[in-house]
Point group: C2
Chain length 654, copies 2
């Protein structure tokens, strides 16, 4: 038909090809026109976790390139930017906008809704988003998609020339004002509209002067209403009541609102399709609804869905790959498949998805600049250590957890049910999502290390319990040893018990007597004494001041160092040489190894870890480990010059 | 339009409503016409496991009631019938047909294909399936659906009056006969057709005399071909070559064939949709294909998908619920939500999905009728015990594994990589799928118990290692103690070590000396001596013949009994009283408890198990456990009369 502008025609073509058939089928993506924009206001740790499920549900069904626009506070920005960077989903762009800069636009509006000031921010999108962005779908974080978002995007084409905003009717009687005596809601057209899903025609909104219009509406109503009850939604509704021609009403299935007392049932039993679910209540999944099991299943599908599977390319879609993925692709192509260590090198190139600060986290830096973070990594089978560690270490903790999406949810339930963990806000939990056959232990360690927020770090393993009071003792030692101006690694001597029921020693004296009794041993005394021999336990027994020890091959003590220490070398995956190489590099950088006379930690026994990789041809594993060691030595020499040759010599003499 | 028969019109309505939008949306299911029939030939353990992924992918996208028809051997029948019975998916019917009865129909055809005789059975479907079944979709087990199967079903309506069979072109050059010198394939129309996905118009096939026709074709071609190379596919193709008007060619995306050298890429890059993937090679997921990662992701999505989530009802679909689900619904409604033990009672009603014989299993009963199966249950965190148990017990083992779908796949990879487990065929692995917050330990134990295939069972826990030679000793004891004609429970004394590096005692003498040294203890000596005190370890030290002991409260020994012993009481979920109640019931049934003088087993240490339920309000947990105990006692009295009152008295005296 003539009279339709070129881009619309192009889009219409896409439309026809797109919407038949099931999900996950390939896409005939014709032009730039098929890029879909989605905006989301997201603040804090919990919303950052929730929005991932929304994003998964959208990605699962999509066949178009997407551009996500996140209005975030600093917390959500840090979490989501690292998540998307490591997720590397093809044909997905992400932009962030600083919510704090927008606060002044809405902070004058008194608001009683549980979402707080962020609940009002959807009003500012014409200003926040790029001025050349013409249309955007705006979503709350508690939304789940059950269909391809392109179908919703296509509804923009059904807008009349006057319409600027697409919304679904509110599925409760709230705005009718008859819920209780003297219930006086904001003005709305009939039942009003819900703003969990919005089609926002930004270009037209800017043209009609939206920014001034909603402000005038809000100011006028606030004279009698005093505050908003449902945040932005009250203002949108008052605005629409005055300008009904501007709204395009969407079919109810585009925002099925599940609260305790909604009329949503009428929607989903009358229509054949159900496209978007909205957990539209602070009770979320615990909402009372006859069919809540059905909806919960749709939600749970994505909650525990392996996000790595969403990294699939879009067939036939001519979008450009990101520079990172081009680089990665090149590196992968350069690998030699016949190299016997191919699997190791392949793993080294794997980009693991990372979700930082998975739980609530609140840490204020100390003023004296001496604070120390306990740094460790773990997987599901060591979860039961967390409570004990928290009881032994009151300072900040940075933990990297190597888990699948489903395990991360299991961990979340565990943490939320644990009184000990719930009451600790200075523990940063960082999820590194599982992928591949190896355990990328040093990569996981580095995530925990890099996300410590103190000047010093205590690099430990999760199956050790620090002595009571270690945190205070280490903070004092940091000052005494002048760590701020010298390059030192403070060694915390390590011991072990082979017994499950241990009465933990309360002092060095008690520890020494348990050592004499045979209740405790120095760490790995029976199987690998080299690992800690240089600590010189004999000297430690009587030491009252810190003493310096020399590096020796295979030394792998637990140390306190400045956070800006070298990272762990990520070529070592699975088990073997992961800490040894790190201590070696500390030595190459001329850190002094100082043993602390009054510090100790004890390894708790556990069943051998269940590591699949061990069951794969262990002789080739050992061969590769040797190859990797050689390469590591060569890299050390290259970085630190001839001084580093001593490591190679030491290695050859073993 | 007139001239269209009534049922077709009804179906057409459904069709229109059905196929737009994404997956998992509700269904406007109008009439019986929307029931879709699917047939599958499935034999053996591996195919039974594979077919589940196919079924999940079909269920995930479906919005119609389904009827699955499985042609099975006895192994697949046992596995799939119990799986579907426990899966309880609404609007899914399942029928089984005995493949062995059909063997004679095709056994005369020499066949070189890796699928064996079962590869030919699709030829017999007009005979095997009910004579009033008009149409069926026939699928190989290595198929994954990426769309709603109703869309494929709808293609029957496009058949001309003459067409009886719908097929996709074969996506390789095999039938062109030019792959190598003297390559002589069976005759085919052009490139031929692939029989991994078939629309079979049974009614018309019967009418044209299909059964005679394919036989004549096969007999004639076999005169020169000697055998089939690609099983049924050769015969279907020779038949079609002779009767081209009978075939309806389906678009290529209904069967995208992924082998090393297929032309499938041409299909999926040319079309916009991709609806069915066929892992059409013995190499399956290891097939070489540029886009294999993409296809693998589609497959892995369903492989690890939580099958419980597929239990959702179909909205608006007036199909009848099964008697079991009606009964279950009623029981659930009768529960009192305000009962403080509601969660326990709710768990008791949970039907856990069960996949019996998840791995290859091959056991031949012994002729002397004295064989004993080791029975135990475990979850992921005890997997590392399996190899050790296999080394200590050479007899048959029945293990129930409490796992999620994803964990079951992890277990599969573990078992396939373990030399020890791979070489044992007499271990039955039964997956009980996780659901809910409790660990239904007795339900899991019962699955292991009921699927033991020997007259006697050794009821143990997975964290124990039997002494070397226990299997032989127990078999001899079974004869000596005349277990076949007396009611006895043979007690295997239990010990424990608190050390995780133990040199396992090779004899009773060595065990006793380790006991004296303090390297070993009697089981739970420190924390719960009651559990095993009646075993009378003092007497056992010097005993040389079996001796009888009396039941006492809280006694929970590990015993050998006949398989037809009482089941574990499933009201006890989580931890507490799960074995105690079982031993009590053995006593109520007047089993003699006989301690074996030369048998022992040792508990291996492990970290405390990670059990979420423990973290939920443990005081209410204890209260409920007491309530459940009382109810158990009452039930015992009801079943065994006044003699059982002693248990209640014993309980009250504690």
């Amino acid at each position: 038909p003539t009279g339709v502008s070129a881009p619309e025609v192009a889009y219409a073509n896409v439309h026809i090809v797109n919407w038949r058939g099931g999900p996950m089928t390939s896409l005939f993506c014709l032009t730039e026109q098929c890029l879909i924009h989605v905006a989301c206001v997201c603040a804090g740790h919990n919303a950052s976790r929730d929005v991932v499920t929304l994003v998964k549900s959208v990605l699962f069904h999509r066949r178009n390139p997407l551009h996500f626009h996140f209005i975030t506070d600093t917390v959500a920005n840090r979490i989501l930017s690292s998540l998307f960077q490591s997720w590397m989903v093809p044909s997905v762009q992400v932009s962030f906008y600083d919510a704090d800069e927008l606060k002044s636009e809405v902070s004058w509006i008194p608001n009683k809704h549980y979402s707080g000031i962020y609940g009002l921010m959807k009003l500012t999108l014409t200003k926040a988003l790029p001025s050349d962005l013409s249309k955007v779908i705006v979503l709350d974080t508690d939304i789940t998609f059950a269909t391809d978002i392109a179908e919703l995007w296509g509804i923009f084409r059904k807008f009349t020339d006057k319409q600027v905003i697409g919304l679904v009717e509110n599925q409760s009687d709230w705005y009718l004002g008859n819920l209780w005596k003297n219930h006086k809601p904001w003005p709305a057209l009939g039942r009003g509209f819900n703003t969990g899903v919005i089609l926002l025609y930004l270009e037209r909104l800017r043209r009609i002067g939206w920014e001034q219009m909603w402000r005038l509406t809000a100011e006028r109503e606030l004279m009698s209403m005093l505050s908003t009850s449902l945040a932005d939604q009250d203002i949108f509704n008052a605005f629409i009541k005055q300008n009904p021609v501007l709204v395009h009403q969407l079919p109810c299935f585009w925002n099925v609102q599940l609260s305790d007392h909604t009329r949503s049932e009428q929607c989903y039993t009358e229509v054949s399709d159900l496209k978007v679910i909205h957990w539209n209540s602070p009770k979320k999944l615990r909402v009372k609804n006859k069919h809540v099991e059905f909806f919960r299943n749709l939600y749970l599908t994505f909650l525990e869905y392996d996000g790595n599977l969403l990294r699939r390319e879009l067939f036939g879609c001519p979008t450009q790959a990101s520079p990172e993925s081009v680089k990665l692709q090149k590196a992968l192509e350069e690998l030699d498949e016949d190299d016997q260590c191919y699997d190791f090198r392949r793993e080294r190139l794997t980009v693991h998805r990372v979700h930082l600060y998975f739980l609530q986290y609140d840490y204020t830096p100390t003023e004296d600049n001496t604070d120390i973070t306990l740094v460790a990594q773990l997987s599901m089978d060591r979860l039961q250590m967390l409570e004990a560690i928290c009881k032994h270490w009151e300072g900040p903790i940075s933990l990297a957890l190597y888990m699948s999406d489903a395990e991360a949810q299991q961990f979340l339930r565990y943490a939320q049910a644990s009184e000990v963990l719930k009451n600790r806000k200075n523990v940063g939990y960082h999820i590194v999502y599982k992928e591949g056959q190896f355990y990328p232990v040093n990569l996981v360690r580095n995530v925990a290390l890099k996300n410590a927020n103190t000047p010093y770090v205590f690099l430990t393993d999760v199956d050790f319990l620090p002595m009571y009071g270690l945190y205070d003792y280490l903070r004092k030692s940091v000052v005494q040893m002048d760590m701020a101006h010298t390059k030192k690694a403070l060694v915390v001597p390590a011991f072990e018990t082979l017994r499950y029921r241990l009465s933990f020693p309360k002092s060095k004296a008690e520890l020494l007597s348990m050592l004499d009794m045979g209740t405790l041993y120095t760490f790995r005394y029976h199987v690998w004494p080299k690992g800690h021999a240089p600590t010189n336990y004999a000297k430690w027994r009587t030491a009252t001041t810190p003493y310096k020890v020399e590096w020796e091959p295979d030394f792998e003590p637990y140390v306190v160092v400045r956070r800006e220490c070298p990272e762990y070398d990520q070529r070592f995956v699975g088990f073997g040489w992961n800490k040894v190489s790190h201590i070696m590099e500390l030595d190459a950088q001329e850190y002094d190894l100082m043993v602390l006379p009054n510090a100790f930690m004890i390894h708790m026994p556990h069943a051998p870890s269940f590591d699949i990789s061990k069951f794969r041809s262990s002789s080739s594993y050992r061969n590769c480990l040797n190859t990797l060691k050689d390469e590591f030595h060569q890299d050390l020499s290259r970085k630190y010059g001839s001084a580093a040759l001593k490591y190679l010599t030491a290695q050859r003499n073993i």
